[in-house]
């Protein structure tokens, strides 16, 4: 187990390095630069600014310098916000995105598992069709449609909840989080309940569940202790990538509800060629995906006695 973990982490390092390298050169290949303003600055000042950020160096030198910085866990200064480092910007935006993402995925897993299990237990009943219907709706209504509609109905029309805007001074309040979290969770609820339904149906047909029933175990215990345990396996392997995508913040949700999260900053930074911020977010995202996938795989092994890592 430990050697498996070590091996996975060892593979992760070159992966991250390749990702950083690809991202670095792709970003630099884009025309325009962080100091191209609408009103061009005088050439001398431009030279000075470029020199201050080391951008007058040849590209390979910049790359080496950047990598040296990464090795020291230094993501460098933002090129657009003069008095902020990349770490500052991530520290501002990431908690917002992470909170919304974590709440959404928890909600999605909770609701999705229950919905999927109920549908599987009562296959071809009205409850089953309802769940399948809801999950299909969840899949075909993307967040950028659901978000505005919810904001319009719940926020503006009925005036029940605020439609958005997290003021960093007041922090995140529950009522401001409800709509973004639900909007972000709905497609995931749809996918998870589908996954759960399919795998639960398969597990319920398996021999060991029949054995458990034949032993005379109460139905609840058969479902919870025997069936559920292996029925969640496909869900577990889906969660790694899903969680990473959610944690970095659905850019759309942040746009619709005006949340100061990392996704919005990322798009802004890329459009303004704020190289270091873009790189910082890419590194964060890639690391999260790798770590969460690893956790998902370990969890998978822990739940599935057939899989052994060594």
């Amino acid at each position: 187990m430990l050697s498996y973990l070590a091996r996975r982490l060892l593979v992760a390092i070159p992966t991250i390095l390749v990702i950083i390298t690809v991202a670095f050169f792709m970003m630099r290949a884009a025309p325009g630069g962080p100091f191209d303003l609408e009103r061009p600055m005088p050439e001398e000042i431009r030279q000075n600014v470029m020199a201050a950020y080391g951008m007058d160096q040849p590209i390979w030198k910049q790359y080496v310098d950047y990598m040296a910085g990464i090795a020291r866990f230094d993501l460098g200064p933002s090129l657009k916000f003069r008095d902020k480092t990349v770490a500052d910007i991530i520290a501002e935006g990431f908690p917002v995105s992470a909170t919304i993402g974590a709440l959404s995925i928890s909600l999605a897993v909770f609701v999705g598992t229950i919905m999927g299990s109920i549908a599987a237990l009562r296959q071809n009943s009205a409850a089953d069709y309802t769940v399948v219907g809801i999950s299909t709706i969840g899949i075909v209504i993307p967040p950028f449609v659901m978000g505005p509609i919810l904001a319009l109905l719940v926020g503006l029309h009925w005036g029940l909840l605020p439609t958005g805007g997290l003021d960093p001074r007041y922090g995140m309040t529950v009522e401001r989080l409800i709509l973004p979290v639900i909007t972000l969770a709905l497609p995931q609820i749809a996918i998870i309940s589908r996954l759960m339904r399919a795998s639960m149906i398969e597990v319920l047909r398996s021999n060991y569940v029949r054995t458990a029933k034949a032993k005379g175990l109460p139905a609840a215990s058969v479902i919870v202790r025997h069936a559920l345990r292996s029925a969640v396996l496909p869900l577990v392997s889906y969660l790694g990538p899903a969680a990473a995508a959610l944690l970095t913040g659905s850019i759309v949700i942040e746009q619709v509800f005006q949340l100061p999260g990392i996704g919005r900053q990322f798009v802004q930074a890329a459009l303004q060629r704020d190289y270091t911020v873009v790189m910082g977010v890419v590194i964060l995202y890639a690391s999260l995906i790798i770590i969460l996938n690893l956790i998902a795989d370990l969890l998978y092994a822990a739940l599935n006695p057939k899989v052994k890592y060594d």
């Binding site: 990702i19 993307p142 950028f144 449609v145 505005p148 509609i149 619709v256 798009v267 890639a286 995906i289």
Partner: protein, 301 residues
């Protein structure tokens, strides 16, 4: 999968056996046609496609004509603005049809791009195996951990925003899963008894690929294609929503939804009409995809 192999020694016998083997597809078609949701979706999608491509030519309003005195008219029969007009005074029905056409085109073309790259990549990796396979799949893994949006933004700014690029960019992102599916199938098939039997019978490598590998890989690929098209349509809409997709005067459903979301307080129909159109389209593709999966993979029934 329980596909029978041609138990033949002579080539002509194998030809005949292989032809008979196509009854698998006949079976699949029959199963698909029994699925009412899938058939209804096929019909509806056909109608939508027809309207999207022929409708704008026949409709009384041009999609880009601006009626200065008819801004944000609610849906109604007056002047034939059945779905009303948008914030610039353009007929919403005409714009929705044109947008649907663009979304469908993006969906099909980008999926075709992903299909070509993914199948070639996956089949090569799976068939050669060993180190080449390891390396090629490692590359796929690395690409998986790049944020999709990052990719596309860079591509957009490197080459400038144009439609062809959107096709290629989305296709270039979506091929990864396709490559994995094809590789997995190829590896699984390589070890199947009927492929070994064919090899033992002296069938050439090329014939094995053509007669046995390709038809058997095709099933999952077709299913995945029908599920990729709506995913691509969603991806393009997502980009358009962020202002990175199709640019005016062209439009797509995502673009219309984005504009509609901005005006929804005064003109909710500008959000509802394109949003419903997109939902219908995605519904159709999803039901067709599910139907195909049930039809082609008998294991799942």
């Amino acid at each position: 999968m329980a596909f029978t192999s041609p138990p033949a020694e002579k080539t002509e016998m194998m030809e005949r056996a292989a032809v008979r083997g196509r009854s698998l597809w006949d079976d699949a078609r029959a199963r698909l046609l029994r699925n009412r949701a899938a058939v209804a979706s096929l019909v509806l999608l056909g109608i939508l496609t027809f309207l999207a491509f022929i409708g704008p030519l026949l409709w009384v309003h041009d999609s880009s004509f601006i009626y200065r005195d008819r801004v944000q008219i609610p849906p109604g029969l007056e002047n034939w603005h059945l779905f009303g007009t948008d914030a610039q005074g353009r007929d919403l029905l005409a714009r929705t049809l044109v947008g649907l056409r663009m979304s469908l085109m993006v969906g099909v073309v980008a999926t075709a791009v992903s299909l070509v790259i993914g199948v070639i990549w996956g089949a090569t990796a799976g068939f050669i195996g060993g180190r080449v396979d390891q390396l090629m799949m490692r590359i796929v893994d690395v690409l998986y951990s790049l944020p999709f949006i990052f990719f596309v933004i860079i591509l957009m700014v490197v080459f400038g925003r144009n439609i062809i690029l959107i096709f290629v960019a989305i296709g270039a992102v979506e091929w990864l899963t396709m490559a994995r599916i094809v590789r997995g199938q190829t590896i699984a098939l390589k070890g199947m008894e009927f492929v070994e039997a064919a090899r033992a019978a002296g069938v050439s490598q090329f014939s094995i690929i053509r007669r046995h590998i390709v038809p058997n890989v095709l099933g999952p690929v077709v299913v995945y294609v029908t599920l990729t098209i709506p995913a691509v349509i969603l991806a393009e809409s997502f980009l358009s929503f962020l202002g990175l997709g199709v640019q005016e005067p062209l439009t797509s459903l995502g673009n219309l939804i984005s504009n509609g979301a901005r005006d929804m307080e005064v003109a909710p129909w500008t959000l509802i009409v394109p949003a419903l159109t997109m939902m219908l389209t995605l519904f159709c593709f999803n039901f067709i995809g599910d139907g195909l999966r049930d039809a082609i993979d008998p294991k799942d029934r």
